[in-house]
């Protein structure tokens, strides 16, 4: 079964991208000081080109540098060497080019759901002084309607809009967090284990909603997860990070491959043979027998093709 999936993956050919690159990481390495003299390299010479409208799922073991990769794109961290370009500009600080949905603390606890969603556009369109003008009230009314629409689209009830985050479940909070990020219409949406704290049914429903929203608006999504199924169901492209050598802590791109898009409905995709074959294949590549068999971890043909994306 694994071999069949391997063959199928190899058969997938990526179309030659003519669109400009949305996110580019060139020879990016990240290391942290661990002792007074030594440093620990987390990511080593990462080269990645991500194109507009791609839904890239980043998978890997705990501590392999998935979240570090995301923070680099976000501008929260900086590489020791190499460059990162997002939307045509070098990343040197956090800004609104990227929307961000973290695993937790994603909402402002002092604001109601609707206020959380309105916060971004309010900042974008109204300075401190503009908030004193009479036109601000009209703007806020219009914005409220848009925010309500966005929240209802994310599956929230109108009665919940004036509740504070602590009054809602984790799933609802994450729905609002996604709506909050999407209100800014960012070219890139970064999601760091956004669904990992949710129960399976909430998670499945949010996955479907995210997929639908992505299909409607097509932002470039970088979705960090440690859940193989989630990565395969949501993404159009899969990147697995991990060390090339046994015992090494330096992560690189182990696998970079496009994912087959057999159906738009997640539940249908989940039941397909293709999905199960791929899952077994990816598990084997990322976590499976690789610990005892170094050969299985290195997939040169796929990595090379990934770099050519």
């Amino acid at each position: 079964m694994v071999l069949a999936a391997q063959v199928r993956v190899k058969e997938i050919r990526m179309e030659k991208k003519s669109a400009p690159v949305e996110i580019a990481l060139n020879n990016v390495s990240v290391s942290y000081p661990v002792t007074s003299s030594g440093r620990k390299t987390v990511l080593s010479n990462i080269n990645l080109n991500i194109y507009p409208g791609e839904f890239v799922a980043v998978l890997g073991e705990t501590g392999c540098g998935k979240s570090t990769l995301l923070r680099l794109v976000l501008g929260q961290e900086f590489p020791m060497s190499g460059t990162i370009v997002v939307d045509g500009k070098h990343v040197n600080r956090i800004d609104s080019r990227c929307g961000y949905v973290p695993q937790k603390y994603s909402l402002f606890p002092d604001r109601t759901m609707i206020e959380n969603v309105m916060y971004g556009p309010e900042n974008a369109h109204c300075g401190w002084l503009a908030r004193l003008l009479p036109s601000y009230r009209t703007f806020k009314r219009t914005l409220r309607i848009q925010a309500e629409e966005q929240l209802v689209r994310m599956g929230l009830r109108a009665s919940d809009l004036n509740k504070y985050p602590h009054q809602l479940s984790g799933g609802m909070q994450q729905r609002v967090a996604i709506a909050q990020a999407l209100m800014m219409k960012p070219p890139v949406l970064l999601m760091d284990e956004a669904f990992s704290a949710l129960d399976p049914s909430t998670r499945a429903s949010l996955q479907q909603q995210l997929r639908e929203i992505w299909q409607e608006t097509r932002p470039t999504v970088l979705f960090v997860t440690h859940n193989t199924s989630e990565a395969l169901l949501l993404g159009t492209r899969l990147i697995i990070l991990g060390p090339h050598r046994e015992g090494s802590q330096e992560s690189n791109v182990l696998l970079d491959m496009p994912l087959p898009q057999s159906s738009d409905t997640i539940s249908v995709r989940k039941q397909s043979t293709e999905f199960h074959e791929l899952r077994e294949f990816v598990k084997l590549r990322a976590y499976g027998a690789s610990h005892s068999n170094d050969e299985l971890r290195v997939v040169p043909e796929l990595t090379e093709r990934g770099e050519a994306l």
Binding site: Q76, G99, K104, Y105, F108, P109, N123, A124, H166, P186
Partner: protein, 287 residues
């Protein structure tokens, strides 16, 4: 049997007193205090009817009456036909309360920049690098030891006392605000930046707004240290104020005035604390 069962409830972590019980129990120690005091006073007055150390209820009543309705010794006497309102507003207690309250609120106003500095230190790394070490050191200076310097720098007027309160409490409030602001999850700040927030937006609309209820709680906890520094200043050099009066009355063994004054200060601080707690609940329903 019933009383044993009730006593047993005191040792039960899972005990849930009813509202009536909660209300009743909360007054018991006050009643015990009044009872013990009155018994002690009765015993002392049996031995010496002129005793002034533990004044009787009637002595206390006379003391309160003179404090609330009569002007201070150093002030001119009121006209015999003066109205109750005039008597109240020109009384010794009103004069002392207003003087102390003026100093107290001036110090609280001056603490606002200290709170803002703590906030900025936590949010802006350069401000943190510039101020933190100095403030950590300054916090360890015993404020009362600065009193002679303050009297030289600000004279023996109100400013020396106000500055004593500010210097005594500001570093604590600053560091508390700093710690509270630092505890705001980094994700919130990052998220705010992705939502097009400016540095000021993040400082005031994200971080300050989130920690404001805790800052108010910190101010509540610092009300007593503030009053302590105010009393220290007033007892050393002053011509009016609640602590000044207590100091003066101590010389005359005027416990009939001192005890009501002590209780009055406690009531004022308790009232202010309750007001801040109420405001916190109303203004920050999410907290």
């Amino acid at each position: 049997m019933a009383s044993i069962a009730v006593l047993g409830q005191f040792a039960d972590i899972q005990g849930r007193p009813r509202k009536l019980w909660t209300q009743s129990l909360s007054w018991v120690l006050f009643l015990v205090g009044v009872f013990v005091y009155s018994q002690f006073s009765i015993v002392r007055h049996k031995e010496n009817p002129e005793d002034r150390v533990v004044p009787s209820v009637s002595q206390l009543y006379q003391g309160i009456k003179s404090a609330v309705l009569e002007p201070a010794e150093e002030d001119d006497a009121l006209d015999a036909n003066a109205s109750t309102y005039q008597r109240l507003t020109h009384s010794m207690l009103a004069k002392d309360t207003l003087s102390s309250a003026g100093r107290f609120f001036a110090a609280i106003l001056l603490l606002v920049p200290a709170i803002l500095l703590g906030l900025h230190m936590a949010v802006f790394p350069f401000a943190e690098a510039f101020f933190l070490r100095f403030i950590l050191f300054f916090d360890k200076i015993v404020a009362l030891s600065l009193l002679p310097i303050l009297f030289i720098a600000f004279g023996i007027g109100d400013w020396a006392k106000i500055m004593l309160m500010v210097i005594g409490v500001a570093p604590t409030l600053m560091l508390d605000t700093y710690n509270l602001a630092k505890a705001v999850p980094r994700e919130q700040v990052v998220k705010a930046f992705t939502l097009k927030s400016s540095n000021l937006d993040i400082t005031y609309r994200v971080v300050l707004k989130q920690i404001l209820p805790q800052i108010i709680n910190s101010v509540r906890l610092n009300l007593k240290p503030l009053a302590l520094f105010l009393f220290a200043g007033e007892m050393i050099v002053s011509s009016d104020g609640l602590a000044y009066r207590i100091g003066i009355m101590r010389r005359h063994m005027g416990m009939d005035i001192i005890i009501p004054y002590i209780l009055w200060v406690a009531v004022l601080l308790f009232g202010m604390d309750s007001l801040l707690r109420f405001a916190n609940r109303r203004l920050h329903p999410w907290f």
